[in-house]
Symmetry: C2
Amino acid sequence: MSETRADVELDFGDDGLIPAVAQDADTGEILMLAYATREAVDRTRETDRAHYYSRSRDELWEKGASSGHVQHVEEILVDCDGDAIVYRIEQEGGACHTGFDSCFHRTIDGEIIGEKVFDPESVYE
Amino acid sequence: MSETRADVELDFGDDGLIPAVAQDADTGEILMLAYATREAVDRTRETDRAHYYSRSRDELWEKGASSGHVQHVEEILVDCDGDAIVYRIEQEGGACHTGFDSCFHRTIDGEIIGEKVFDPESVYE
């Protein structure tokens, strides 16, 4: 995790972004899906903390930089085509800005299956 | 899983696609990431078999229709923004066309961590 260049070739597509899935390294739970640039992947490898690219804010984004809910990256996996990655992480606090442990805390039928682990009003001002 | 319309609103973006992560419902292993259209999600809910949209072939794609490696969908999860989904599945055969159980069978350093579960030459002619 100390190198700044990927040894496996990554395909960042036409928009320079690759989907990155954050997965709890211990439980296997899928916590969130966001997008990463080459710079975000490099910063993740340099720091072992998950970095993404915020499409709404149009900037490099270290998860937890403001909330404290950082993601310690144990391993990065790459798929067969090189156009998707998985960050296997240890999550501090909760991954979702709504206070749930995972952004995927509901089914398509609307049933809540996730666990609320923090009060978003006390974290995001 | 019998309804044809999602109860949770999904955001298919400008291109009509939503990223869909297939996860082994038993082990939590992430098997693949592909894209789904509204039609693919509807077909998945109608049949309980994972459907995606093939961007390369530009068509609706039932996973395993030719290989037999179908994905039985137990549950569909939606993230907080409604712009990513998880198919929690039981995989027949292997998810990856290269013969591995998962498309995410290697680390970014190039180390192979996945398990080869079938010979692709005997499946894809």
